[in-house]
Each structure stands twice: as C-alpha cells, then as structure tokens.
Amino acid sequence: MSLYHPSFERDNCGFGLIAQMDGEASHRIVRTAIHGLDRMKHRGGIAADGRTGDGCGLLMQLPIKFFEAIAAENDWHLSRKFAVGMLFLSQDEEKAAQAKLLLERELEKETLSVAGWREVPVNADVLGPIGQASQPQIFQVLINAPIGWREKDLERRLYMARRRLEQQMLDDQDFYVASLSGQAIVYKGLMMPADLPAFYPDLADIRLQSAICLFHQRFSTNTSPKWPLAQPFRYLAHNGEINTITCNRQWARARAYKFNAPLLPDLQQAAPFVNESGSDSSSLDNMLEMLLAGGMDLYRAMRLLIPPAWQSNPEMDEELKAFYDFNSMHMEPWDGPAGIVMTNGRHVACAVDRNGLRPSRYVITKDRILTLASEVGIWDYAPDEVVEKGRVGPGELLVLDTLNGQLYSSFEIDNDLKRRHPYKEWMAKHSQTLIPAEQMPKTAQGVCEFSNDTLLQYQKQFGYSREELEQVIWVLAEKGEEATGSMGDDTPMAVLSKKSRTLYDYFRQKFAQVTNPPHRSFA
C-alpha cells in the first residue's frame, strides 16, 4: 500500500460567466464563453501527456430551440415542458444499458417519460491519450413533463429521481449525471478549452443558444483527472478550496434527519445529501442543490453556505447581524478560498469568500452583456463599448436576474433577507447569553476545591509535570498567551516514546499549504 492516496487530491482553477442581462439568448454568448475560457488556460493544468486538460466545461441555459430541432430531426415527440439529462455512461455496453433502464424506471415513478435517447456527437481525436482512455459514453436523454407541471415541480422531481438512481448506481464508477434539468445543461470533459467545440460539435452549432454561460477550467493536483470532476457541476463552478470540507460533510450527515421540506415530502429518500468521495466543490454543489430543491431561494442558500464575516463587521447593521446569527446555528460556513459562479437558468450569481481570496472581476458592455471572471480582459470588447467595470469583493454576492434584467448587489440582497422575519426580535426573546465571568460577583467565580494532596493526585494521574506547570500553564495564566520556544522539537513521537504520553500527543495538526492559504489570526 502506498502513502499516496488520490483522495487527497485538491483543485483550483479559472472560472467565470457571460450573460446577456435581459435574457436574450444567442450563440454568441456560448462562443464568447469558450473564447474567454481559452484566454485563461494558463490558470488550468495540463496532464503529463501535454494535451489532456484537467477538465473544463460550460453550464448554460437549456437551449430549448436546439433540442426541439433535434427532436424534430429524430421524429421524437417533445412536450411543451421538457428536460434534458447529460449523462456519462460506462463504455461497458451492459452497464450502460442498465443505467439507462434504471433511469427510465425512476423517471416513470415520477410520471415523467423519455422522449428519446441521443448519443451526443463527439470527436475524440482532439483528446490527449489520458483523456481518451477514460472517456465515457456520453448520452443525452430528453424527458417530457406532464401537462400542467410548473418548472420548479419538474426540477424537484428530477432531483428525487436522480438521487434514487445515484444510490443504485454506486457500483458503476463511470456513471455520472452531468446535468438533469429543464433549466440548464452542462457540457464538460478532459480537453483544453479551445477544443470544447471540436469535441462537442453541438457547441459549434449556431442553433445552440443561451443567454447565460458559466465556464470553468480546472487545475488538479494529480495527473489522473476524471471526467465527472470537470466543472461546472449542476448548479455551480467553484474556484478555490473548501478548507472545512470534512466538517461540512460530517454536519451534513449529522443534520440530515432535521431537513424537512413541505415541498418535497419524500426528501429523506434523497439522503445522504452530500457526497463524501467527490471533490469539495462537488459536495458544495450537492448541498446547494438540496437546499434549492427543498424550496429555499438562491439568496438565502448562498448566504447560509458562504456568509460574509458578520460577527465583527463594522459596516453591518444589527438587523442583518441578527439574520446571520439566527441562521448560524443551523449551517456552519463552508469556509475557504472561494470564487463561485452559479445559475438556475434564470438567475446568475457570483459569490466570493469572506476574505476575498479569489479574484472576480466584471465588465458590462453597451449591449448589456455581463462578463465576470477570474481575470479582466478575457475577450476583446472595444474600449468604447464598456459601460461599467467592477469586482465582487470579500463576502459579496452579486446576482443578475435575466428575467427583469436587474443586477442585485449584496446590499440589496441582504436588505431583502433581513426583512423577511423579525430576526432581531426573535433572538432577543429566545436566545440567551451566558454572563461573562468578568461581570460575575466574586462569590460566583469559584474557589480552589482541591487540597494539595488531591491536586497532586490529579496532576500525576493526568500526566502533568513540573515543567509543564511552570513553562506552559503558568505562562498562559500570567501572560494570556502561549510561551515561545525555538530550535524545534527533537523528542520522540508519542508512539515511539518509552514514557507515558497523553493521548493528545498522538495527533499532529494539519495546516494549509499551496492549495489554500493559512490566515492571520487576530484577537
């Protein structure tokens, strides 16, 4: 067994989005997104073969007209409301057939019907050997919704069908649902950005139009990139690293039984909600889609997952603090460097972590096209076209609603959130705070309870030493900070030692290096 575990893998990248603010779909948006992504290829990684990228992709509005044309060509009947699934299936025909069968079965349970299966045209010649070796079969499934269903109903039932399917497909490592939605679709894989339209001729098809296109290029810390880990995921693309991922996954598991959404009575069937083996970004995507499927709106979901630094923010008012305070008990921050772009087909959003550790710059041009990315200047708009240049700062959330063409800043979003309920009043009424020791009368501050003998007995039993009392404990008590030392540690580790060491000595602290930054700690 090797010490090297691919599961330690980290990733980072370049990311961004292009959107026509008034929701006017065009192929130009898709084309420009690909061009922009190509202009950030220095932010991505290339595998040892020099041709296989670590993964890149696009997340866009479902191009309705394109799929209607495809359906017409194939003589499939499409309902007025339909969804499309983008699936990676095993190269093993038997397994692929099994996956299709199970998907149809799960869709049937939801009274959804399959209009047709489409083998997505691809051109594998543009891939490097590593990308080729792991390339899955890529299929699209067109799904008809019953008459009368609303868009959100369809999304919810697709979510449940997919979760049930995924639970049955755990043994098939190649099976992966890139997207399954009536709102959006994902094209991604292990190629260089410039080769996206060559690999997927769909992307070069001018009938494929969208008003929104998210893009992402990955830099992973290994040379065995995987197709499913290419981004965007179903809702978002993430640049950065969730430092707290172990904690978030554990709490997602611990909290699962508390999640209860009236709009999805069978939500518990979708558990576990968050994967524990994919990338940190994919876990975040899982959490977000669960919250959205359960009926939470994008604003609140994003503000819960990646809140700004609210506790000590001098610019924030009490009502807003109360909103974050109220919600903090039920969701811990997914903390770490993060530049995130996301869309649900109508809204487009960008969020940045509380410390502003990932760059995110935007430009709005005269034709009302919003370009937002890790870098500025990723396509060549003329200087006289630029109306506005800005950036998304630390802890900010920028949302574009393509239905009404409005751009919402954090300020407006937070104002909406804090007014939804009287959080401050609720908190004042029902939460209590311990009285700090400084404010307690002397009598309540405790007295020494142990006799000298008892104290000695306890100290010996718990492995205290005279050195520790004087050099560690007393220094803390006298100065309020830890003692300093130098010349490192030259004693044996606990397991090698012949002495009785405390259990704590068996643990070594981890720390951030390279793929994410440590912080400055301040009081």
């Binding site: 691919p6 220095h42 430092n243 870098e375 520790e468 003692a483 390279v514 793929t515």
Partner: protein, 955 residues
C-alpha cells in the same frame, strides 16, 4: 475570526420561525467555572443536562468502557438530554479513566450515526486539557465546549507559589491564551469560525491502531498503525499507580528541555559536545563516535526503525564516486540574516560555496556586496514577508526557493522582534531599526495552486537561469500538493519534517504541527512517481539530519538532495540552548547583539566544511559496503530498507510498509531527477521587449516602444527588469526605458520592476501589479473617452505592490484587496481600494483618492497613507491597532499631498484628480492621514524621503 459557540437543539433550516431562536450563546468554547455553572443551571425544559462518568473499573477494559459510555450517551440523548456532560472528575483509586478525546470522538460518532447529534451538545469536563492543542483535539472530534477544571485548580495553586493574589485575572488570562492558541490553530488551516472547525478532524493520527481509530476517531488520517486499546490503557495505569502513591512527587518532565532521566532528546548534550569536539579537533574517529551516539540511540524517529540491506556485493571505497560530486547534494537550510548573526550567516555561505554545496539566504534579503563573491548565498529565498526581494536579489541566485511552510511552525507567519532589527538588518529589509517586522502567514500571492504557478512563472521570467524550488512541510496529502507543484513548473521540492530549526514559535506549534519527514518524503516520492513527474523534480529533504546513515536512509526513501540546519549551527558554536528567540544567544550565532557577536562568536567556515567532509566520507563508506558506486543508484530504492520490529510494545504494533512501498515507474519516467521543468508559456511579449530594448539598456541609452497587450501576457516587464538587474545592477537602467501598452494586462504587470523602467498601460490590469517593484514607474489609466468614471471603476486586481520597496505607481481607478501589503518604499496613488489595504506596510506612501475597504492599515509599522474620506466613513474601516488617523493640517503635508495628486493627474489625466485639485482648499478637509502610532507626525516625510539613501547604504 470567531470562537462564538451556541448550544441548544437544532431545527429544520427550511423553516424560519420564532422557536428556532432558542439557544444559549457564549464567546468561547473554553468554559470558566462560572460559565460551566450557568450551563448546568439552565432551564431544563430546553437545556436538560446529564453527566456521563468517564471513570471505569479496570476489569471492564478501556474498549468496553468506551462502548458503554457511548450507549449511555445515546440513551440520554434519546430521552431528551441537551447537554451531555462527559466528565472524568470522579476519579478514584480503583478506577481507570478514559482519555477524554477518545470518549468525545466515540460519542460524537454514535450520536451522528443515530441521528441525535443535532439535539445534543457534548460538553467535556476534563482534567486532561491544558494547552491549546488539547482543546483543538477535543473540538476537532466533536466537543461543543470544554471545562478544564484541573488547569484552573493548578493555576490556583501556582498563584500561591508565585505570590499572585488576583486568581480571577489569571483564569481569564488562561482562557484568553487558550483562545488565542485555538485561533492560531484554526488559522493554520484557513478556518475562520469555530463552527467550521468543530468536527473537522484537522489532524493526522500517528501511532494509533485501526481499532482505536475506528471506534474513537473514525475518519481521521492514520497511516502507520500503532497503540491499541490495551497499550493505551497500560499507559494510563502507570500514571494511575503513580497518582495514588502519595509520596511520589510530580515528575519534572523534560519534553521541552532536556532533563537527566526525562524524555530522550536527539540533540542532547552528549551529541552536541561530541560533534563539536570532532570538528574542533578535525578528528574522524571522534566523528564516528558522534554518529554512533546518534545511530545507536534509543528509537526516537521513524527512520530508527529502518535498517539498510542491499543486495549487491561490497566494493572498495576507491570505486565509489568522490566526495566532490556528493557535495552538490548538500545545502544548508534556510536561516535568515536576522535569525542568525551576519557573521554566522556569511560563514555558512563561505563554507558551502568552497565545498561546492549551496547555502540558503533565508528570508530577509542579503547584502548586495556579497553577490558575485564566495559570500553569496546560491539559494535565495522568497518568503511571505518578501523582505529584500528585488530584481537584483533574484538575478543573483542559482536557485530561487519559495518557502511555502517552515518546519518549526507550518501555517504560521513569523516576526523579527524589534530588538533584533539592527541598522544593518533594517537596511536589508528596507525598514527602520527597532521596529518589529512581521511576515504574514500566507504568501499573499499564493492562495491557490494556480497562484503558485503564476509566482513560479514570475520567477522564471525574471531569472530564466535559476531553478525554482518550493519548500513544503510534511503532512498527509503533501504528495498530491507536490504533484500540483510539479505541474506548476517547479524544478525542485524540499520536504521538511516537523522538527524545525531556529524559528521562534509558540510551544504548541513546535510540538504538534506537521508530520515527520519520513512520511512526507515517501509520500511525495511515491506520488511523483505514480503521476509520472518524478523525473522533472529534484527532491530534497530536511529535518534533523545528522549522520551518513540519515542521508542514506533518506536517499532510499527518494531524496537526492539534503538540507542541514541545526548541525551547521552547532558546527559554528551553537550549544543548543533554545533561546534563539531572546536575542541573547550566548555563542553569538543567533543574535544581533554586537557585544555577544564580538566576544562570543568563534564560528569558522572550516568547521562546517569539516562536518560535510566527514559525512561525505562516511556516506562513501556506506556506499562501498552496499556495492554502489554512484549515489544516484540509491535514490528511491526503498526495497533496500526493511523495518525493525521495535523495542517497546507500541513500536511493535507499527506498520511501516506504506513508507517502504515502491511504486511502479510509468514509461518514460524515472526514479530520479532527469530534466528541468520549463513553463509551457514562453512569455513571448517579454521576449519581444527584451530583444527590442536590450541594446539600449546595455549602452545606457534611452528607449521607447509601444505594444499591444492582453490578459495572456503575464509578468510583463519582468524579463527586462531581470535583464537590467543582471547587466546594470542594483541602481537600474542608466537612462529611462519607456514602454507603453494598450489593452488588458495579464497578472503580475511590472513585477519586480527595476529602477529606470517606466511602463504605461492604457486599459486595465489583473492581480499583482507592481509586486516587489524596487524602482521605476507604472502608470495605468483607462482609454480617453471611456464611458465610466475612473474613481468608480476597478482598474487593478488584488495584491498590487505586495512587497514593493521603491518606485511609483499611478492608477486612475480602483484597486482590489490587499493593496500595498508589505510595501516598504513604493509611492502610489489610486482612486479606491478593497479590504486590507496597506496591511503590514513598513514604508512608502499610499494616496487613495476614494473609498477603501475594511481593515485598512492592519499591522502597519511604517510609511503612511492619505485617504480621501468624502463621506466620513473611513473611521469604521481603519484598523487602529497599530495606526492612528489625523487631519492633513500642516502646510508641508498639504503641499506634499497636492504634489502627489498633481503628479497623478499628469501621469494619468484622471478627471477625478482634476476635480479634487480644482477645489483643493475645500477638499483637503476630507483627507485623512494614517500613520503608525509609534512614528511622530513630524517625522513622516523625513523618514520616507530618507528611505532611498538607506538602500544605497546597503548597496
């Protein structure tokens, strides 16, 4: 950052109702007596508390006892207990105690599995926790809050002994100290709130068996097996027995400093003295006595459990490659001027250069008079403080090492206390003598792997001949990080163990952060081989290496180059007193104190050379015995190592096979370094610029040219700055070189800009503009006739002027976060900033003609800033810990400010600047001057204007 903790039952987050507000909040998970009592006294309808005793009968056994505790916890949680108190308080002679961390981890797992954790909080009442690491472990495995009663009792007793009566203050101090330590531990992982730290298991367990990990610490990384329940219980029994033997005193300890009969120390007085004796007398037999003391010690490191067994016949020593070709494999480890005295620092450089190895400058710059001489450090380090890192520094190196982490305190920054900042040090670091200098925890231009790739690209652009090295510290996952580093086009990687060197750091960082190098080195080697990248990386190890046997074992595990820190210091006279951080090193090695250096420093480069000569000889003897004529043949031959059984029962439980695993080599790759790792991007625009300007620069003539630029043109100017620094030197181009660009510049525009190079950009720029610039001028402005207002639009990215030490920057627009962080001399005018502006600034002048973000001026100890505060909100955004704010009232300062704005207008044509100047008398009232508290208002201009002269003195 926040340690705020709350308890109560969690609710369904899809609903928001008044009832969801029920909870009790407090500021720290470390409970004082009164906090704990308040919790117990809460309304039992909502907050019922019940205690589970962690003491058990020996007959029951530790494992069974833990399972029973879990069952009890589950039962209590099911029946409505909200505060589950795990307590080890009820000790008795006939009972054993379950280590609190084991109980917490096991109970946490059961409560999560049983869907109960969100209705219950785990409160630990324990005697065992007394330093920040202990609390971190408990929180990391699931504790909500901790009441460390024995620490408080002990403090009470100590206060009597020390004659301090204010015990309450002591308790509060203790808690404050633990809180600070916790913040530091969380910061190391980049975690901001304790809510996101709780249960995050940010540890590697070293030496625990699988059954212990499964029951108590499920999910934590544990790779070499180790102590099982029985052995942990036995350890407890020893203490238990001692505890109830009334007349036995409390042991002295010896974990921190060597004590006769206490814990073994690898650098014990015997080892140190024998080493110094052999070098003083130049006596090889004494050296062999030293290596015997080390190699035959009681088992103290993982490598002590390995034995070397080759499969070849021995050869004679003449058949083995000569010492001369071994020396290039040896480097002295990074130790800065500042940590070391200048004499010791130079002695190391001289020794390594004469020998053919390499010395490392450490962070903090180097006196340019040492360049191109035997006193030059061949390895120049780039650390987070960027002190003294200029174009000139960077081109005078064979190797450029990016210090990502440091063994003694990975994940932390550093500081050079004011009393060590002498006139010489201050000159090198572009600071004022006596002012504490802070290195931030992260490199502000490495928040992510693609950022590191960018920094490596910057370095390769400015010094194409240098090899780029990245220094990492061992921890689980360092192998994949190293793979990423290789993909980011580094040429060398150094893996350090946790052992650490001179660096002063908090005791818990020294003792608990990072992993041993044996694990890290093996993991990195295995990862690089498996990923087909090993042949592109020269792999180095450092951390407590002392003897030829250490080197051979490290080579077999994959290292082909070796770093030595402590031993060379001992060779120079260090007595291992562990007081480096106090600036009164009795041997003059690690101090700036003139007297100590003059009277007590007797270090000679020859002694250092003797050490390496002896060691090379010893290595050659080993090689002969192994039948290996070339060192290269040893690298990565982990099959030549086998694990010993171990002496103690715990050692015998270890499984070291993963360390010895030998991966298959993919086709076309190798087990050792074969080739450099050039970037795929050739930096074409830089090549074009150099080709065009080269001759003019070399002839000392003026030069002018214009280019188009876009975001794929990165580090533009670096190539020419490097060329200027190489061919002309520190002072920069003799006649101005003026370049003009149109478009959007890629990252690092004008990085390490050299004096004499002026670059003008019509358009906008990405991150890192003017990073490390030491002279010249950068001007950025939007195209004439742009529709947007410059003071409302972003024109520069994040982290501009990071580590700059001179030159000027004018930008007609807003900059991003962390503008001018660690600036020590550049002058800048911009029209707005993001958060954390001027952080850790030690010199230079920043004018902001618009809004700033929050936390302005944090940690700023030099230089000053003017901010245009039109709406009077700036006082909320400035961090006044180290700076204060003033009106710009003196006519000289007003004139100075006006001059800078006029210059800005001239350079950029900014409409906003024009507007301010048109009515300057009125607007002047809106300006705020921000300066370090310890600098007098009247001294500001004098100090800043004398700055350039200081660096001339240094030259």
């Amino acid at each position: 950052m926040s340690l705020a903790t709350c308890i109560g039952r969690e609710q369904n987050l899809f609903n928001e109702t008044m009832g969801h507000a029920y909870r009790v909040m407090f500021d720290s998970p470390v409970l004082l007596f009164s906090d704990f009592n308040q919790l117990l006294a809460l309304d039992s309808t909502y907050y019922r508390a019940n205690t589970v005793d962690l003491n058990y009968d020996l007959a029951e056994g530790l494992e069974t006892a833990i399972k029973r505790v879990c069952d009890e916890a589950e039962r209590l949680a099911r029946t409505g207990t909200t505060l589950l108190i795990l307590s080890d308080r009820a000790t008795s002679k006939n009972k054993q105690v379950i280590p609190a961390a084991m109980a917490v981890g096991a109970v946490q797992r059961v409560l999560v599995d049983q869907s109960l954790r969100c209705d219950t909080n785990i409160i630990v009442e324990t005697a065992s926790a007394r330093d920040p690491h202990h609390f971190a472990v408990l929180l990391g495995f699931g504790a909500t809050a901790i009441y460390p009663y024995l620490a408080y009792e002990s403090i009470s007793a100590l206060s009597l002994k020390h004659g301090v009566t204010e015990t309450q203050k002591l308790m509060l101090n203790f808690r404050q100290g633990i809180d600070k330590g916790l913040r530091k531990i969380m910061s190391k992982m980049g975690i901001s709130t304790v809510g996101s730290y709780r249960c995050s298991q940010q540890f590697e367990a070293i030496g625990l068996s699988t059954d212990v990990v499964e029951l108590c610490f499920k999910g934590v990384i544990s790779r070499i097996e180790g102590a099982n329940f029985d052995l942990l219980e036995k350890d407890q029994q020893v203490l238990q027995k001692l505890a109830f033997q009334k007349h036995q005193p409390l042991p002295q300890g010896g974990l921190l400093k060597y004590v006769e009969g206490g814990e073994y120390h690898c650098f014990n007085p015997d080892v140190v003295n024998t080493l110094q004796a052999c070098l003083r007398d130049k006596d090889y037999p004494t050296y062999k006595r030293f290596t015997q003391l080390v190699d035959d010690r009681t088992i103290a490191t993982l490598r002590d459990l390995f034995v070397v067994k080759g499969d070849k016949d021995a050869i004679t020593i003449d058949q083995v490659e000569g010492a001369d070709t071994l020396y290039p494999r040896f480097d002295s480890a990074a130790m800065s001027i500042g940590a070391l005295s200048p004499e010791a620092h130079e002695a190391l450089a001289v020794a390594m250069n004469r020998l053919g190895g390499r010395s490392n400058s450490g962070e903090g710059g180097e006196d340019p008079s040492r360049f191109n001489s035997v006193r030059n450090s061949a390895i120049k380090q780039i650390a987070s403080g960027r002190f003294g890192v200029t174009a000139h520094y960077l081109v005078n190196a064979e190797v450029l090492q990016i210090k990502v982490a440091q063994g003694a305190k990975p994940g932390e920054g550093g500081q050079l206390p004011g009393d060590k900042v002498s006139v010489e040090i201050a000159a090198l670091r572009n600071a004022r003598p006596g002012v504490t200098l802070i290195s931030p925890p992260p490199h502000h231009d490495i928040y992510s792997i693609e950022d590191l790739a960018q920094l490596i690209f910057d370095l390769k652009q400015i010094n194409p001949k240098a090899l780029i090295s990245v220094k990492l510290v061992s921890e689980p996952g360092v192998g994949t990080i190293a793979t990423g580093v290789a993909k980011a086009y580094a040429d060398m990687i150094t893996i350090s163990g946790y052992d650490g060197g001179t660096g002063a750091s908090p005791i818990t960082s020294v003792k608990y952060a990072g992993s041993p190098w044996e694990l890290g080195l093996a993991e990195v080697h295995q990862s690089l081989v498996a990923n087909g990248l090993r042949h592109k990386i020269r792999l180095q190890v450092d951390g407590g290496l002392k003897t030829g046997a250490d080197v051979i074992k490290a080579a077999l595990l994959g290292a082909e180059s070796f770093g030595f820190g402590t031993v060379p210091m001992i060779a120079l006279g260090c007595k291992y007193l562990r007081i480096c951080h106090l600036n009164n090193c009795a041997t003059g090695v690690a101090t700036q104190n003139k007297q100590l250096r003059d009277n007590h420093y007797h270090g000679l480069p020859e002694r250092v050379m003797t050490y390496f000569e002896f060691m090379a000889q010893e290595i050659r003897e080993y090689m002969a015995a192994l039948g290996v004529s070339e060192f290269e043949q040893l690298v990565g031959r982990s099959d030549w190592l086998s694990a010993l059984e171990g002496v103690t029962e715990k050692q015998q439980q270890l499984d070291l096979s993963a360390i010895l695993f030998k991966p298959d080599i993919p086709a076309g790759c190798a087990l050792t370094w074969q080739e450099t790792n050039p970037t795929s991007d050739q930096g074409e625009l830089n090549q074009t610029i150099i080709a065009a300007a080269k001759e003019a620069v070399e002839q000392g003539e003026t030069f002018k040219a214009c280019f188009n630029i876009n975001n794929t043109d990165r580090s533009v100017g670096a190539g020419l700055s490097g060329h200027i620094a190489t061919t002309v030197g520190l002072q920069g181009a003799k006649a101005p070189v003026n370049l003009r660009f149109n478009g959007s510049a890629g990252q690092s525009f004008g990085v390490w800009n050299a004096p004499g190079l002026n670059m003008e950009l019509c358009g906008d720029a990405n991150d890192y503009v003017g990073k490390g610039m030491s002279g010249g001028k950068l001007t950025v402005y939007p195209p004439l006739g742009s529709m947007f207002q410059s003071e409302r639009s972003v024109i520069l990215g994040n982290t501009c002027l990071y580590g700059a030490s001179g030159g000027k920057l004018f930008a007609a627009g807003k900059a991003g976060e962390r503008f001018a962080v660690r600036n020590s001399g550049a002058i800048a005018v911009v029209e707005g900033l993001g958060d954390n502006g001027c952080e850790y600034m030690t010199g230079g002048i920043v004018v902001v003609l618009g809004k700033t973000g929050v936390n302005f001026g944090a940690g700023m100890t030099g230089g000053f800033a003017y901010v245009f505060d039109r709406f009077g909100h700036f006082n909320r955004r400035v961090n006044t810990e180290m700076v204060d704010t003033h009106k710009v009232s003196s006519p000289i300062q007003q004139q100075h400010l006006k001059g800078l704005i006029e210059e800005h207008l001239n350079e950029t044509g900014s409409e906003h600047a024009k507007m301010l100047l048109n009515d300057f008398e009125n607007w002047i009232d809106c300006f705020v001057l921000i300066k370090p508290k310890n600098v007098a208002l009247n001294d500001l201009l004098r100090l800043e204007q004398s700055q350039p002269e200081l660096s001339v003195v240094a030259g």
